[in-house]
């Protein structure tokens, strides 16, 4: 699905872009508070994977804290580090829930977020909190068990000495029996791994998929000047024929060829990069926040363009093969009013932390309206006629183009 577009050139520049923008989160830092919170969550998420590997290894081997045996003191340092990051992640998650639900930040309160998108966002944050609670339940209960000589770990004695759970554990679990602690520890372990599997299954249905797709999306970023709109090769051939006095109109096209649709009417007309963009969008709304049309109360929201594209893609994907539902992205999801409100200023493209390009979709929707249906605001029809007739968007004769020189 998706039209072809070549984004395989300049692999080194692309790797650099991906490293800076996705891995390094360069563009997040235009708003420092959100950037810091996001970074905490991101680093914690990535580093915690080490502990997840251990949890899985423990599960398969039937051992307990298998890495402790091999790593010794470094293990204590590692888990301590992960625990501190996890606390930061907890703070970030709570702050995000608060920002999203209590603060009236405009970008979290636009109408395209009503319903499922808002629930999706909160659900992920709540899942993260549950995940963190489970991990501290596991480490905390284990710490107390260990103090009492009841842990499964045979490699060390006394306290593990982990940065957080060595004091949080006794604080919460000191009054429980060894049997109860063993159950808590198991609940923590199973709960954590259960949440991870739940999360991984939920991910492809959620806006949260950006944690994976941010990488290919930034790798395949548009590397050209933002002002350059895509070139339409199909139109070039026709215009060349039109302007060529030697062209034979009867030999021009093969009658059996189905002509390519001009512009975009439905998601199947978009490029694969547009479709990837739609799946990578995490609906943060930085694009809509800076959109001059949206700021001044017009119907356009670049975030909604991306959300509509994804929703329509899911709808088309669910159709049985060969079935057409008679609906389309343009019209059923995105209205011409939204499409015509755009000033093509590129603010949305600039603002996106992962280089998503809503503008290219908007332009292709316009192309469809204009070139397939001649549906455009009447003033634009006049402007286009002027260009065709006299080479200027206004009604002035081309022969008068130098008159300014002799005017006062």
């Amino acid at each position: 699905m998706g039209r072809t577009i070549n984004r395989s050139d300049k692999p080194l520049t692309r790797l650099k872009t991906m490293s800076l923008v996705a891995l390094g989160q360069k563009k997040m830092f235009t708003s420092p508070i959100a950037a810091f919170l996001h970074l905490a969550l991101y680093v914690a998420f990535v580093i915690t994977q080490i502990e997840l590997v251990e949890i899985i290894a423990d599960g398969f081997s039937g051992k307990h804290r298998i890495f402790y045996f091999y790593l010794g003191d470094f293990y204590v340092f590692m888990v301590s580090f992960i625990e501190i990051l996890t606390v930061l992640a907890f703070v970030a998650t709570v702050a995000f829930l608060w920002r999203r639900n209590m603060l009236s930040l405009p970008r979290f309160n636009k109408k395209e977020l009503l319903g499922w998108p808002k629930k999706d966002a909160n659900l992920i944050l709540i899942m993260e909190i549950v995940l963190i609670v489970f991990i501290f339940t596991m480490n905390g209960a284990d710490e107390v068990l260990y103090n009492r000589g009841g842990s499964h770990v045979e490699y060390a004695k006394g306290s593990f000495g982990f940065s957080i759970s060595s004091w949080l554990g006794p604080l919460v679990f000191d009054n429980f029996t060894v049997e109860a602690l063993r159950i808590f520890e198991r609940i923590g372990w199973w709960g954590h791994i259960g949440m991870v599997f739940l999360f991984l299954n939920y991910l492809p249905y959620s806006k949260h998929l950006h944690i994976l797709l941010a990488f290919p999306t930034t790798y395949f970023s548009n590397l050209e000047a933002k002002g350059k709109f895509s070139h339409m090769k199909s139109v070039e051939n026709e215009v060349k024929l039109m302007l060529d006095p030697n062209a034979d109109p009867y030999s021009a096209a093969n009658a059996t060829d189905t002509p390519e649709r001009f512009g975009v009417k439905d998601v199947t007309d978009l490029t694969w990069k547009n479709l990837l963009d739609a799946y990578s969008c995490t609906e943060c709304g930085r694009c809509t926040d800076v959109c001059p049309a949206n700021i001044t109360g017009k119907a356009l929201s670049p975030r909604k363009i991306m959300m509509d594209t994804r929703d329509r893609m899911v709808e088309v994907g669910d159709l049985k093969k060969g079935v057409v539902d008679g609906k389309s992205l343009l019209g059923d999801y995105i209205s011409p009013e939204e499409v015509w409100a755009c000033t093509s200023c590129n603010a949305c493209v600039e603002a996106c932390p992962i280089n998503i390009d809503p503008l290219s979709i908007i332009v292709d929707l316009r192309r469809n309206l204009v070139m397939e249906d001649a549906a455009m605001p009447s003033e634009l029809a006049g402007m286009l006629t002027n260009i065709e007739n006299n080479g200027a968007p206004w009604q002035f004769a081309q022969s008068d183009r130098l008159n300014w020189l002799n005017e006062e």
Binding site: A225, V235, A293, R366, V370, M371, A392, P393, F396, R401
Partner: protein, 262 residues
Amino acid sequence: MSLKVPTMSEMMANGQSPEILFWVGCAGSFDDRAKKITKAVVKILNHCKVDFAVLGAEESCTGDPAKRAGNEFTFQMQAMMNIQVLNGYNVKKIVTACPHCFNTLKNEYPELGGNYEVVHHSQLIQDLINTGKLALEGNQTYKGKKITFHDPCYLGRANDVYEAPRSLIEKLDAELVEMKRCKSNGLCCGAGGAQMFKEAEKGQKEINVERTDDVLETKSSIIATGCPFCNTMMTDGIKNVNKENEIQVLDIAELIANAAEL
């Protein structure tokens, strides 16, 4: 001082070929306000003895508004006709005072066979100053005045030109005051994407009025621009708040020409 503006055809008739083509653009040719900007550019070019020419009646719309409005046919027809003329004169370098013409000529003509070095007039003027062809030392015209620069989208975000126009304002010995939304975060004037030629879609506010609020916050007495359409939009925005006697909207070229007393 009378302006010397040779056309490419005159030059060719004399067996000459200028170093640079000045692409005037539709606004620069026909819009009363923008014509003054065109004249300011010519004054600077004449003063610095730049070897240039214009296309005159052979120039035609680059096709920018057609492309932004979604009509690729009209765009490509315009582009191919212009490229035929430009290549016929063996044009190598183009300067223009319109960021829309600049962007289209620079980025969208190569794929149709039009390959030129294209510069915005702010870049050319910066170059003239840096190479000593234009001296602004000791100019008093704008000394100490508060000037804010409105980034045209098609110069800034579209082509990453932010510093050239600012460096010119610094040469005026004026105080450059940035708006809260500037450079890559600059707010559009509302004219781009063919909006100049249509009514805005319905909303709560006009975009140029929103942008005018940013200007008012800076307490500047001059808005500098580098685009004829931004100029129109900002002028209207200032009129909307009845400040046209306190705040002037001037193109970078006009500021420089005035300061150099051309």
